[in-house]
């Protein structure tokens, strides 16, 4: 298997990965390894980066600029803005682990550069270094707790 060509932005990607919640518990060495597998892409203002329901192959990390995350409501009625993400914001994290379509549409609010990490490269790293998986667990369990709490809150409001 060929080694990936080193991106000129690798140092910046490595630094930005540190701000991504999913990778918050990784060691600098682990982040540096992941950064080597990332590629970068530029997006014009208003361009759609990923679309809800589409095939999900990569995690995106915003390196510069900002994006708007929209989600189609289930009963129709159009898209609802969920959040805006700036530098260090990430989308498609769950796609690294689960094989599910994109959960939202993401549009560049201004000229934006993203780092992309392919699902397969991430999973290969997990196989090579299972410590990475252990580092992800606190983040994932934290999300489950958050969802539990939101669910309890929603049930209480009924």
């Amino acid at each position: 298997m060929a080694e990936p060509p080193i991106s000129k932005d690798v140092a910046e990607i490595e630094q930005t990965l540190g701000r991504v919640m999913l990778f918050a518990h990784l060691t600098p060495r682990q982040r540096a390894r992941l950064a080597r597998f990332a590629t970068t892409r530029d997006y014009k203002e208003g361009s759609t980066i990923v679309r809800q329901g589409d095939t999900s192959m990569s995690l995106y990390v915003v390196l510069s600029g900002s994006v708007r995350v929209n989600r189609e409501s289930e009963g129709g009625g159009g898209a609802v803005e969920v959040e805006q993400l700036a530098r260090g914001g990430a989308f498609g994290e769950m796609g690294l682990i689960e094989d599910l379509p994109r959960a939202a549409t993401v549009v560049a609010v201004e000229p934006t550069t993203c780092a992309l990490l392919a699902k397969w490269d991430f999973q290969n790293e997990l196989r090579d270094d299972p410590e990475i998986a252990l580092s992800l667990l606190p983040v994932l369990t934290g999300r489950i707790r958050e969802l539990d709490s939101l669910l309890a809150q929603a049930q209480g409001e009924r």
């Binding site: 060929a2 990936p4 060509p5 590629t39 990923v50 589409d54 095939t55 990569s58 392919a118």
Partner: protein, 557 residues
């Protein structure tokens, strides 16, 4: 305990090093991989008639190639293909064809694509990448059987004495014995033309086996298989118990090999009988409890059928079969989500024209590294079949990137567009409106085709095969929902409807089985069964003439 772990390991290792690793490495630098692919292909074919006519010997770059070779269609290549078909050598390619792949598309006369050894290698490369990834994701898949439907590779003989037919049949025939053992169906089944016989024998082999992977290009075939599994439950169990197959389903004059593998298996018959007694039906989930994956087309017009698969196959994941045609393999899906795949940068050379520039005299031809996310493009193939800058008339959309390589999804045929009053309606818009309407009211629409209906005013006529729950009133509701959804999909359609330049659509309910009969008719006319696609937007003015219309429902009065 797996039955043949050594063979499985060997197969996976071979797939990895013969195809998957090469493809994977190329996705880092797709432009370089594509240029290498092109220059190799041009150098190999410089001494052919086409190569000399277009000065292949002087081509040193992608830019040189574009200057030397114009964009081609099947029609512009026909003078060369006709010579190959007649048996002349070194016309389009240096290596001689082994057969011709026929492509029926959705309409029009058959096209003949020369399948050379180099083209077969390019085509198989994509197959191997796809297969390797499926085996990597479902490691016990090879402990059971793979059920793949394929069509005959010998529909006829060319003037030069070569067979023509489906490339899937050729690949099935040429598989080494060690590989064939993993497949549930014999090659000879690909030659059965009668649809009922083909489905019965497919299920006769399939129901006796531990099927782990089910591959049929069209998801409607999966639904039909599930339906027939139940309809023929008693007959299948009877045949599995005693061996062989009901003679009514074995075409006269068939080779012995067609039924040679149908051994008696009383134990399996008992299992199936117990399922039938317990559940009152044979269902895929009960008959094939180890089914790991379904593989079929998921893009284009397929979502109408895809949405019904979970009701029949439970939570078995569905992976796209890949964007492919007789003319080449465009993309290989590496995950189950969505309907897209990674551009096959190591199979063929590809160019793209932005969809909106199709008719622009200054249209830009782009390489894969120049594509943008979520944009639609017409795709052009250059392959070792002798298709140079070939316009396949397909529109694809970039949905993601794998490393530096675009992940593309088939959207629609370029010709799948109608425009009575300037509305420029595409098949994907019709499919989108259809799905939205179906989901809005849970309408049971099994097959569907819209076509232009000339009149004062002109309108769209919707031919549909519907479930029993669709009363006339439900049909009217569906028609209204479809019309509204189409207005949302296409603002020009909405404007023309509001101005009454376009009338309200009418729904023509056709008899049950009409679409299967249409498929059978196309197969009888020579179209490979697995390639037959009945469009959801037909540009054929004769469409519907042979259908048995039971009822017409309109929104007027």
């Amino acid at each position: 305990m797996s039955r043949t772990p050594a063979v499985q390991r060997l197969l996976r290792t071979w797939l990895k090093f013969s195809a998957a690793s090469h493809f994977d490495d190329a996705t880092w630098t797709p432009r370089e991989a594509q240029e290498k692919k092109l220059l190799d292909l041009v150098a190999r074919n410089k001494d052919t008639a086409f190569g000399r006519d277009h000065d292949f010997g002087s081509i040193r770059s992608i830019e040189d190639y574009r200057r030397a070779v114009p964009m081609n269609t099947y029609e512009t290549l026909t003078p060369y293909i006709d010579r190959v078909f007649a048996g002349e050598q070194k016309v389009l390619t240096a290596d001689a064809p082994l057969m011709f792949a026929t492509t029926s598309g959705t309409t029009g006369r058959a096209k003949f694509i020369p399948v050379t050894p180099s083209y077969l290698s390019e085509y198989s490369h994509g197959v191997h990448v796809h297969t390797y990834r499926m085996f990597a994701d479902f490691s016990d898949m090879l402990e059971g059987k793979i059920l793949v439907s394929s069509s005959s590779d010998e529909e006829g003989i060319s003037d030069g004495g070569l067979p023509f037919g489906a490339i899937s049949g050729y690949l099935a025939r040429k598989q080494p014995g060690a590989i064939k053992r993993f497949y549930a169906l014999p090659y000879e089944l690909s030659k059965v033309k009668q649809v009922e016989s083909k489905y019965y024998l497919t299920l006769r082999y399939g129901a006796a086996a531990d099927v782990r992977l089910l591959v049929t290009p069209n998801p409607s075939s999966m639904l039909l298989l599930a339906d027939k599994l139940n309809v023929w439950a008693e007959e299948l169990i009877h045949d599995i118990r005693r061996g062989g197959a009901n003679a009514a389903y074995v075409p006269e004059g068939s080779p012995k090999a067609l039924t040679a593998g149908l051994r008696a298996d009383p134990a399996r018959a008992d299992e199936l009988q117990a399922i039938l007694k317990r559940d009152g039906a044979l269902t895929p989930t009960a008959v094939w409890p180890n089914l790991r994956l379904l593989s079929c087309w998921k893009g284009g017009t397929m979502p109408l059928y895809l949405r019904k698969l979970p009701g029949v196959y439970g939570d078995v994941p569905v992976r796209d079969l890949g964007y492919m045609a007789s003319e080449g393999r465009g993309a290989t899906p590496l995950v189950n989500s969505g309907a897209a795949g990674v551009l096959n940068v190591t199979s063929h050379f590809f160019e793209f024209v932005p969809e909106e520039e199709r008719d622009d005299p200054n249209q830009r031809f782009l390489t894969c590294d120049e594509l943008e996310s979520n944009r639609e493009y017409y795709i052009y193939f250059t392959t070792s079949a002798g298709l140079y800058r070939y316009d396949i008339n397909d529109v694809v959309r970039v949905v993601d990137f794998y490393r530096n390589t675009p992940v593309i999804q088939f959207v629609r045929k370029g010709q799948g567009m109608t425009s009575i009053t300037g509305e420029k309606l595409t098949e994907s818009q019709v499919t989108g409106a259809l799905l939205a309407a179906v989901e809005s009211g849970g309408y049971d629409v099994q097959h569907f085709t819209a076509k232009v209906q000339w009149g004062e005013p002109p309108r769209y006529a919707l031919y549909a095969e519907l479930g029993d729950s669709m009363t006339t009133e439900r049909c009217r509701e569906f028609l209204l929902a479809f019309d509204r959804s189409l207005c949302e999909q296409n603002i020009e359609y909405e404007a023309k409807r509001e101005s009454t330049r376009l009338g309200a659509p009418v729904l023509r309910r056709v008899a049950a089985g009409s679409y299967q009969a249409l498929r059978q008719k196309r197969v009888a006319e020579g179209a490979p069964e697995s390639q037959v696609k009945i469009p959801q937007l037909s540009t054929d003015m004769e469409f519907g003439a042979a259908l048995d219309v039971l009822e017409e429902v309109s929104l007027d009065g």
